[in-house]
C-alpha cells in the first residue's frame, strides 16, 4: 500500500496523498472546510467593514449626495436624419406628436386605470392589444405608450384629469413619416419599436447609453442599413425632481445631436414614372447610372405603405401584407431570383468570342430545333421553322435558341461559369442595403454542393450535357436577381467596367454641414477585347431597332440597346405550343428586358422583370421605353404605359 502510494505520487504528484485513507481523507476534508469557513468569516468581515465605511465614515457625504439627489438624468432622443432623393425631395422625415404613456410599476391596477383613461381619451381595442404586447416585452420600469398622436383636445382633457392618474403622463415623441407611401418602400424601409433583437444589435455597437431615450430603430431598407448614420447622439437633461419624483426645473441640458441626412442617388420622379409603368403588375426594375453604379430607380411591385409599420402594424394589415399571394413584402430586386431566360445570350456570346469557340461571322443553320447526338429529345426553338442561317449578331437580334443550344453543347459549363462570374452573377452585388441573395450561377461544384447530403443520389449530383443545354438559353439552374442583371448590363454599357450599385449619394452632417459623398467603387473589370465587346453592343442596338423589342421602341428619339428574355416557369411538352391565354396567370412566364441608352454614351442602364408577364418583348420592354423616355427626354407617357405595344402579336422572344 505504502509503495503504491509513493509510486503514484511520483508519477502524478498533484493529488493530495492523504486521500487514500478514509480517516485521513475525512481529516483532510475537515481541514478544507475549516479553511473555507475562515474565508467566509473574513469575507463577511470585509463586507461589514465596507458597510461601516459607507454608512458611518462616509455617511455625511452620502447623506448630502442623497439629499441633493433630487437630480435625475433624463435622456433626450435626437432627431432622426432626413432621407431625400437626389434632388432633395423628402422621402422620410420625423415630426413630433403627443403620446399618452403609462409606467406600469407605478400603476396599481392597470386594467382599471386603462378603463378610466378611456373616458378621457379614446382608447381602441387595438391600442390595448398593442400595449399588452409591449408590456410582455419590456421591463416595467419604463413608460410605455398606450395611445399615440393625441389631438390637442385630448391633451387638454387629460391635463385637467391628470391628478387621477399617477404613473400616467403625456410625452412629446418623435414619429416617422414617409410622404410617398408605397413608392420606393423597399428602398427606404421603415422604423419600428426596438425589440430584443435590436437590443442585441445596439449592445454590439456599444451604443446602449446612446439609445436610452430612443424607442424606434430602423427595421428594413435604408432605415435599417444606415441606422447608425440616421440615429444621431442622445442628449441629456439634468432635472430637479420633487419628493414625488416629478420634474420641477431643468438644471443643465446637453443638447442631442441630430442624425445625419441621407441624400440618395434615386430620382423619385423617375421612380414614380417607373412604378406607374408597371401598373398593377408584379415585378422589379433596377436602373443604374452605368458610369458610377448609382441606383436611379429601384422598383419592387407591389410595394407596401411603410407608415403602417412605424407604430407597430395591426394584425389585419399585417395578415393582408404577409399572406398576400402577390408578396408585397418581398424585395424583388434583391431577393427575387429568376431564371434569366434569353437575356443571358449576349453574355454567353461574349464568352464564346473571348474563349474563341465562335467568331462573330461564323453562322449555323437553325432548323427550328436542336438534338443531342444519340438522343431523340428535341430542344425546340420558339420559331417553328427555325431562323435559317444565323450568325452571332442575328442570334442576339432574333434571339435564336438553336444557336445557343449548339454553343452550350460545345462549351464546358465551368468555363461558362467562370466567365459569367466576372459580371457578378451568382454573388451578392454589395449594394448598401441588407438582405441581398446571391442567386445561382451553376457549375459542376455548385451542383455537387446543392445536391449533397443523404437525400440525393450520386446521379443527381453529376453535371449532364442536358443541364448545359438548358443553362445555354438561361433556363435550368440559372437564377439571377434583377439587381445582378442591372449590374451586368451596366457593365456592358460602361465598356466592361462594372461599378458596385449604391443607393446613398451623400451623407450630410446637419450640425457641421460636412458632406460625405460616396466614391464610386469598381466592382469588376471584364477581361475582354474591346472589338469583341463592340460586336455585342452592336447586336444589342439591333434588338430595339429591328429585333424582338422593335415594336416597343417604334419612334424612339434616341438609340438604345437591349435584350429581351422570357423565363419559363413550367415546361411545354414537345410539339405543344405555349399559349399564354390557356395558362393560369401565376404560371405564365416571367418577362425580362435588359437595356441601356443612349447606345453610344449610356446614361442609364436597367433591368426590368415582369412576373408572369409572358414574353419579354410584350410586357417588359415597354416599361423600359417609358423609363428611358422620362429620363432622357422628360416625357411622361399619357395613360396606359405602352399598353398598345402589349396588344401586339410580336411573340418572338
Amino acid at each position: 500500500m505504502r509503495r503504491l502510494f509513493t509510486r503514484r505520487r511520483s508519477s502524478l504528484g498533484l493529488v493530495a496523498p492523504e486521500l487514500r485513507n478514509p480517516e485521513r481523507e475525512l481529516a483532510h476534508f475537515h481541514r478544507r472546510l475549516t479553511v473555507a469557513a475562515a474565508l467566509i468569516v473574513v469575507a463577511f468581515a470585509g463586507l461589514f467593514a465596507r458597510f461601516f465605511y459607507l454608512q458611518v465614515v462616509e455617511h455625511r457625504h452620502f447623506q448630502t449626495l442623497a439629499e441633493s439627489n433630487r437630480i435625475a438624468i433624463v435622456p433626450i432622443a435626437p432627431n432622426r436624419g432626413v432621407i431625400t432623393d437626389r434632388n432633395g425631395v423628402v422621402l422620410a422625415q420625423s415630426y413630433s406628436a403627443y403620446t399618452l404613456e403609462v409606467t406600469p410599476s407605478r400603476v396599481k391596477n392597470l386594467e382599471q386605470t386603462i378603463d378610466e383613461l378611456s373616458d378621457v381619451v379614446e382608447i381602441q381595442p387595438r391600442d390595448r392589444k398593442r400595449f399588452k404586447r409591449l408590456l410582455e416585452e419590456t421591463k416595467n420600469f419604463e413608460s410605455l405608450p398606450l395611445r399615440t398622436r393625441l389631438t390637442d383636445e385630448e391633451v387638454a382633457r387629460f391635463a385637467v384629469n391628470r391628478y387621477r392618474f399617477p404613473g400616467v403622463e403625456i410625452k412629446a415623441r418623435l414619429f416617422r413619416q414617409y410622404p410617398f407611401g408605397e413608392i420606393a418602400s423597399h428602398v427606404i424601409g421603415y422604423i419600428g419599436r426596438i425589440n430584443d433583437r435590436d437590443v442585441e444589435r445596439i449592445d454590439e455597437w456599444e451604443q446602449t447609453a446612446n439609445y436610452k431615450g430612443t424607442d424606434y430603430i430602423g427595421k428594413v431598407g435604408l432605415e435599417f442599413s444606415y441606422e447608425r448614420e440616421l440615429h444621431g447622439t442622445t442628449g441629456f437633461e439634468e432635472v430637479e425632481v420633487d419628493a414625488g419624483g416629478r420634474a420641477v426645473r431643468t438644471l443643465s441640458r446637453t443638447a442631442p445631436i441630430s442624425g445625419n441626412n441621407l441624400r440618395l442617388s434615386l430620382d423619385i420622379k423617375l421612380q414614380q414614372a417607373a412604378e406607374a409603368a408597371f401598373g398593377d403588375r408584379r415585378g422589379a426594375l433596377v436602373a443604374l447610372d452605368p458610369a458610377t453604379g448609382e441606383v436611379l430607380a429601384f422598383v419592387s411591385k407591389p410595394g407596401f405603405d411603410p407608415n403602417l409599420f412605424v407604430e407597430g402594424i395591426d394584425p389585419a394589415n399585417w395578415d393582408a401584407l404577409n399572406n398576400s399571394p402577390d408578396k408585397p413584402l418581398l424585395n424583388r430586386p434583391l431577393r427575387g431570383a429568376y431564371p434569366p431566360g434569353s437575356t443571358i445570350k449576349p453574355f454567353l456570346a461574349l464568352s464564346a468570342l473571348t474563349s474563341g469557340k465562335r467568331t462573330a461571322t461564323q453562322a449555323i443553320f437553325d432548323p427550328g430545333f436542336y438534338q443531342l447526338p444519340g438522343s431523340a429529345h428535341r430542344f425546340r426553338d420558339d420559331k417553328p421553322g427555325g431562323h435559317g442561317y444565323v450568325d452571332m449578331t442575328k442570334s442576339i437580334i432574333v434571339s435564336c435558341d438553336t444557336y445557343y443550344y449548339m454553343l452550350a453543347g460545345d462549351t464546358d459549363i465551368d468555363v461558362t461559369h467562370d466567365f459569367l462570374a466576372q459580371f457578378g452573377f451568382g454573388a451578392e452585388t454589395g449594394i448598401d442595403i441588407e438582405g441581398e441573395l446571391p442567386g445561382v450561377l451553376p457549375s459542376r461544384d455548385w451542383k455537387r454542393q446543392r445536391f449533397s447530403g443523404k437525400n440525393y443520389r450520386e446521379e443527381q449530383r453529376k453535371w449532364y450535357l442536358g443541364d448545359s443545354i438548358s443553362a445555354g438559353i438561361g433556363q435550368g439552374y440559372n437564377a439571377f436577381t434583377p439587381m445582378q442583371q442591372a449590374m451586368a448590363i451596366a457593365t456592358i454599357a460602361n465598356d466592361g467596367i462594372g461599378f458596385r450599385p449604391h443607393l446613398v449619394h451623400s451623407v450630410e452632417n446637419v450640425r457641421t454641414g460636412e458632406l460625405r459623398e460616396y466614391v464610386p467603387e469598381v466592382a469588376h473589370r471584364l477581361s475582354v477585347k474591346p472589338e469583341n465587346l463592340a460586336v455585342i453592343r452592336n447586336a444589342l442596338i439591333g434588338v430595339p431597332r429591328e429585333g424582338t423589342s422593335a415594336r416597343a421602341f417604334v419612334g424612339a428619339k434616341y438609340v438604345s440597346a437591349g435584350k429581351t428574355g422570357t423565363a419559363q416557369l413550367f415546361s411545354i411538352k414537345e410539339g405543344e405550343k405555349y399559349q399564354s391565354g390557356r395558362v393560369d396567370e401565376r404560371l405564365r412566364d416571367h418577362a425580362w428586358y435588359l437595356a441601356y441608352a443612349p447606345a453610344e454614351s449610356p446614361r442609364i442602364a436597367l433591368a426590368v422583370l415582369v412576373e408572369n408577364g409572358g414574353f419579354g418583348a410584350q410586357a417588359a420592354a415597354p416599361i423600359a421605353r417609358a423609363v428611358f423616355d422620362y429620363y432622357l427626354l422628360g416625357v411622361t407617357p399619357g395613360g396606359g404605359s405602352g399598353e398598345s405595344a402589349r396588344e401586339g402579336d410580336d411573340e418572338s422572344d
Binding site: R8, L12, L14, V15, L19, R20, E23, E25, H28, F29, H30, R32, L33, A36, A37, I40, V41, A43, F44, G46, L47, F48, R50, F51, F52, L54, Q55, V56, E58, H59, H61, F62, Q63, L65, A66, E67, N69, R70, A72, I73, S105, R106, K108, K139, F141, D196, R197, V199, D203, E204, W205, E206, T208, A209, K212, T234, F236, V241, A243, G245
Partner: protein
C-alpha cells in the same frame, strides 16, 4: 378529540422529522426580510409580495420532499438530472425565449423555466456522484473529467448570455473540486492561469461586458448606464447611516434612482431603510445559515453527501457575498441576486431545494462519532 390531537401531533412529528430547525429558522428569517423589503421596493405592490410568498409555499413543499430523500437515493438521480439539465440548456441555445435581450428561458407550454437554475442543483450532484464512485481512487484524470463536466454547461450559459450565472455555476463546480481534495498547487496554478488569460480573453468579451468592467474602474464613463447604477446604490447605502431611514422611507428607492431595485439591487433598498444595524443583522442571519450548513457538511456520512452539502453551503455564501459586494461597490455589476431575498420564484425554489438537500444530509448523518 384526544385521537385527533394525537393524529395531528403525529402528523406534525412526521412533517417536522426531516426539517432542521436552525437552518429553517435562519432561512425563513431571511425570506421574511426579503418580503418586507420587496414591499418597499415595489412601491407597496402587494401583488408582487403575495406572488413571492406563493413561490415560497411551493419552495417549502419541494424542500420537504427533497429532505425526505436520502442522499443515496439522491445520488441515483444525479446523472439523469445532469443530462436533462444539459439538454435543456442546449434547447435554450437552440430556441429559447428572449427576455430583456438574453436567451435564458425555455417555454415548456405550461410555463417558462430557466434551465440554468436546474443546473445549479444538477452540477454539484453530478460531480459528487462521480467522485463518490471513484472514492479512494481519485487521481488527476478524475479532476480533468470533472473539469469537462463543469466547463460544458458553463460555456452554454455564458453564451445565453448570462455571465453572472455562468460564473456562479463555475464556482459551484470548483467548490466540489476543492472539497474533493484538488491539490493546492493546481488551485494556485489555475488562479495564475486565469489572471494571465485576462489580456487574451478581453478582446473577445461582449462589448457591453467590457463596458461594465471599465465603468466599474471609472464610473464617470457612463452617466446614463452602469456607473450611474453603482453610484446610486452606494449613495443609497451610505445615506442610510447607522439606523437607516426607516421602512418605506428610502428616498433613493422611492425617487427612482435605484435600478433593478426588487431583484439584483434589493440590498441597496434594505441598507438604505435599515442602516448598518439592519445590515449587521442580515450578515448574522447569513452567517447562522452558512455556519449551520457547514456543521451539517462536516457531519455528513458519505463522500457524496459531504461534497454536495459543502458545495451548496459555499454557493449560498458566494451568492450573498457577491451580491452585497456588488451593491456596495466592491465588485463590478454582474447579474447575481441576493439569495432568499431578491424577487424571483425560480431562484427561491432552487435555493430551498438546496436547503432540502442539506436537511436530508443532516437526517442521514453519522450517528456515531469516530
Amino acid at each position: 378529540m384526544a385521537n385527533l390531537v394525537a393524529l395531528l401531533a403525529k402528523l406534525w412529528e412526521r412533517l417536522a422529522r426531516p426539517v432542521d430547525s436552525l437552518l429553517m429558522a435562519a432561512a425563513l428569517a431571511l425570506v421574511g426580510v426579503g418580503l418586507v423589503t420587496l414591499f418597499s421596493a415595489t412601491e407597496q405592490n402587494i401583488a408582487r409580495v403575495l406572488g413571492q410568498a406563493a413561490s415560497l409555499g411551493l419552495a417549502l413543499v419541494l424542500m420537504w420532499v427533497v429532505a425526505n430523500i436520502s442522499p443515496q437515493q439522491l445520488s441515483r438521480v444525479a446523472l439523469p438530472l445532469y443530462v436533462i439539465s444539459f439538454f435543456l440548456l442546449v434547447a435554450v441555445a437552440a430556441g429559447g425565449t428572449v427576455v430583456n435581450g438574453a436567451r435564458r428561458w425555455l417555454n415548456l407550454g405550461v410555463g417558462r423555466i430557466q434551465p440554468s437554475e436546474l443546473m445549479k442543483i444538477a452540477l454539484p450532484l453530478m460531480l459528487a456522484w462521480y467522485f463518490q464512485r471513484r472514492e479512494a481512487r481519485i487521481n488527476l484524470g478524475d479532476f480533468l473529467v470533472a473539469a469537462v463536466l463543469i466547463a460544458a454547461p458553463v460555456w452554454l450559459i455564458e453564451r445565453e448570455p448570462d455571465l453572472g450565472t455562468a460564473l456562479m455555476i463555475g464556482a459551484c463546480g470548483f467548490y466540489v473540486l476543492y472539497l474533493a481534495g484538488l491539490s493546492w498547487k493546481i488551485i494556485v496554478a489555475l488562479g495564475v492561469a486565469a489572471a494571465a488569460a485576462v489580456p487574451l480573453v478581453w478582446p473577445h468579451l461582449h462589448a457591453y461586458r467590457q463596458e461594465r468592467i471599465l465603468t466599474f474602474l471609472d464610473p464617470s464613463r457612463d452617466p446614463l448606464g452602469a456607473g450611474y447604477h453603482s453610484a446610486q446604490a452606494s449613495i443609497a447605502l451610505g445615506s442610510g447611516g447607522v439606523i437607516g431611514k426607516g421602512w418605506l422611507n428610502g428616498t433613493q428607492t422611492h425617487l427612482d434612482f435605484l435600478p433593478e431595485r426588487h431583484t439584483d439591487f434589493i440590498f441597496a433598498v434594505f441598507g438604505e431603510e435599515f442602516g448598518l444595524i439592519g445590515n449587521a443583522v442580515l450578515l448574522v442571519l447569513y452567517l447562522l445559515l452558512i455556519g449551520r450548513a457547514l456543521v451539517i457538511t462536516a457531519n455528513a456520512s458519505t463522500l457524496f453527501a459531504r461534497l454536495v452539502a459543502g458545495s451548496i453551503t459555499l454557493m449560498f455564501f458566494t451568492y450573498a457575498f457577491v451580491n452585497m459586494a456588488m451593491v456596495s461597490g466592491l465588485l463590478p455589476i454582474v447579474g447575481v441576486p441576493l439569495p432568499l431575498i431578491s424577487f424571483g420564484g425560480t431562484a427561491l425554489v432552487s435555493l430551498f431545494v438546496g436547503l432540502g438537500i442539506l436537511m436530508s444530509v443532516q437526517a442521514n448523518r453519522k450517528l456515531v462519532k469516530t
